[in-house]
Amino acid sequence: MAKNAEDIVLFEERIPIYPRSVKGRFRTMKWLILLFAYSVYFTLPWLRWQRESGVEQAVMFDIQDRIFYLFGMIVNPQDIFWLAAILMIAAFLLFFVTGIAGRAFCGYFCFQTLWTDVYILIEHLVQGERPARIRLDKSGWSGERILKKTVTHVLWLAVAFITGLTFTLYWGDAYALFGQFFEGTAPFPAYATTLFLTLTTYVMAGLAREQVCTYMCPYARFQSIMFDNDTLIVAYDEERGEGAAGRAKLGKGRKTVEERHAANIGDCIDCGFCVQVCPTGIDIRNGLQMSCISCALCVDACDAIMDKLGWSRGLIRYASENELEGGKHRLFKIKNIGYGLVLLAAIAGLVWSIASQTQLSMAVTQVRNPLYVILSDGQLQNSYDIKLNNKSEKTVTLQVRIDGLANASLDLGRIRKIELEPLSSMNLFVRVKAPPVKGQSGQIPFRFVVDTVIDGKPVTEMKKALFTMRGDFAP
């Protein structure tokens, strides 16, 4: 129990982090990835695509009509399994990469990292480098501070708003929706989604930042179980850095590698640059930590210092624990191969499923109440509910027939013409009649066949069905 009221701490105060900017190969790579990701994300809704159905957006997720447009591909609700496959691929790709290269996703591709990078960049451009920002926060509420803080937050909100609005544009016709949005005539969900994403982007990338990775992200919590001694991590070479007598700043008699080695001092000059550039505010020299998102900025920082000193790079580098301990780095492990195989299987499954997608699909359900009925002429009759899907952008005329059931006939009632509009579906109730055959009882398999012509090419879709036969009713 707390001794008195002052002792009660309701929350852990966030220690402010002022990441210093750094230049280097990993930073450059991260900027390029960010540039690519942003180019795709922000321009995709505006890209046009010619379609017969008149939907001109290259990528559009049309919830109302339950159709997703992805360039030349049209995804219908019954293709929901693709989503499952994509999620599986994403999960196993993550596991696979994590097993080999650690948190590469976190450091380079996660939108939390990307947007935080942009927010830190804005902060840097407006308020200056790390020392300037610290000074600014320590100063009272001067006019300069108010101005700079306001500009920063306004720019943050602007980025957040563009992010949210862009996301919204994926769910409707971008050009029309964009206009409607500012005229105030867009549907309510458009405003709600934009507002929600504006707020979450602003809060997550601007205010919460590394706390998202440390406290909220589930992946950050469970990724460690995929780690082993051969996983690449951003690591501080303790043996080289510390020597026997620990690290020490540059100073008299500790200026060259030779001098330091003679004094058993390691190569780390304790400049603190690696700590200053860290967006999660950790000291990588303490070893692998849960907060480390493997962004490798400390590698760039340390490399820059080593270059300046003319010492060899790699005091902080990508390495596995085995490697650091002088062992061999093994890539082909059962775990990695297993993840790889599952990943390949999932990708193959998805590719096969997409490649074998038909323009026409059919589902058949036998009416089970009753399974069969005897007609006045002694024939048996089974009924079926057939669902037909036209996934093409053409109006098609369909012919339904049955195949593989002796002496059977298909009864469509008085329906003569079955026509399906583009991207639409239809339920059809049909009856199948067949004379009972002595000695043949139970479920007899046969097929429903639908023939049509799409784009001048004949298309045939078949579906297995069962006919309930009762041989004991045969004369």
Binding site: M1, A2, D7, V9, L10, F11, E12, E13, R14, A208, Q211, Y215, M216, V367, R368, N369, P370, V373, I374, L375, S376, D377, G378, Q381, S383, D411, G413, R414, I415, R416, K417, I418, E419, M426, N427, L428, F429, R431, F473, P475
Partner: protein, 310 residues
């Protein structure tokens, strides 16, 4: 049970709740992350805002109504206005919602279209089947069963192609609108035991059963003569008569006597005999006061299609 142990509570750097179980199991009292705490406060604020907009607090035997817009919907012909609640919203949606309007338009289309056109149009048949299924389940399934297979001896099977009162759409519509009285007199007192056996033999012979020719011959005379007068309704060919609901006795379909369900010929004789002795008196109610003409039309199409109407 827990007991407060002040001395152990302060050991270590982490604060504990001060409770200790089994002597040494203690609960850390770690501070919450700030974002969590703020999210918690946000939900508290949300709850307070919610009270003002939506029905929330019980007050006596009433409750606070909240400031959201009231909802007006129709009960019969009257407009009812109420405070915001999901039930009223559903009622309004069922009456004025996009789908409701679409359904009404489709229903109107059914009313305006002839049976012949409905039956040959695949999209109208789709609508009739889905709406008809619901109407059938609500109104007809209690007797005829969910799938319309009926109960032999009680309620006719609607899935086969045998129609007591006719399988043309007009006839089905009449059956639904006006209801039907199925009646056959009891012949218990008309026939002697021998005559009864003869008529049963004749009736079974009509649908191709192996029967005693001599008895069936005598039965035929009773059937087609004034002795029994069966042909009044069942006709001389015994193919039945739709106008009075008399069954066709020459096919393999039995709606009252469970002939196909009996294994031996004696059991079949008994089943048929029972019907002739006791007669039939059953009723199908009229639906004209319970269903709208449009609903009856949809149901007619639905029933017509079940087994393949004429």
């Amino acid at each position: 049970m827990s007991e407060v142990k002040k001395d152990t509570a302060q050991t270590g750097s982490v604060q504990t709740t001060g409770h200790a179980w089994d002597g040494d199991i203690q609960e850390f009292n770690n501070p919450l992350p700030r974002w969590w705490l703020w999210a918690f406060y946000a939900t508290v604020v949300f709850a307070v805002v919610y009270w003002f907009f939506y029905p929330a607090w019980p007050v006596g035997d009433s409750y606070t109504k909240g400031g959201m817009n009231s909802i007006t919907y129709k009960v019969g012909d009257k407009d009812v206005t109420t405070h915001w609640n999901t039930r009223a919203r559903l009622m309004k949606d069922l009456q004025e919602g996009e789908e409701a309007v679409k359904q009404r338009q489709y229903m109107q289309k059914v009313v305006d279209t002839s049976y012949e056109q409905i039956l040959s149009d695949s999209s109208m048949m789709q609508f009739s089947r889905s709406v008809g299924k619901i109407l059938f389940t609500d109104n007809c399934a209690a007797c005829h069963g969910m799938g319309g297979a009926g109960v032999i001896g009680l309620f006719p099977n609607l899935v086969d192609d045998d129609w007591l009162w006719g399988g043309k759409v007009e006839q089905i519509q009449t059956t639904l609108t006006q209801g039907r009285n199925g009646f056959m007199p009891a012949f218990r007192k008309t026939f002697t035991e021998q005559q009864m056996d003869d008529v049963v033999e004749y009736v079974l012979g009509l649908s191709g059963h192996e029967v005693n020719k001599e008895m069936a011959g005598r039965g035929g005379v009773l059937f087609n003569g004034e002795g029994g007068g069966c042909y009044y309704c069942h006709t001389k060919e015994a193919t039945g008569m739709h106008s009075v609901g008399a069954a066709n006795l020459t096919d393999g379909i039995w709606t009252l006597a469970d002939v196909p369900g009996q294994k031996t010929i004696d059991a079949k004789r008994e089943a048929v005999g029972k019907i002739i002795s006791n007669g039939v008196n059953r009723q199908m109610p009229a639906w004209k006061d319970r269903l709208s003409p449009a609903e009856i039309k949809v149901l007619t199409v639905y029933v017509h299609e079940l087994g393949g109407g004429q």
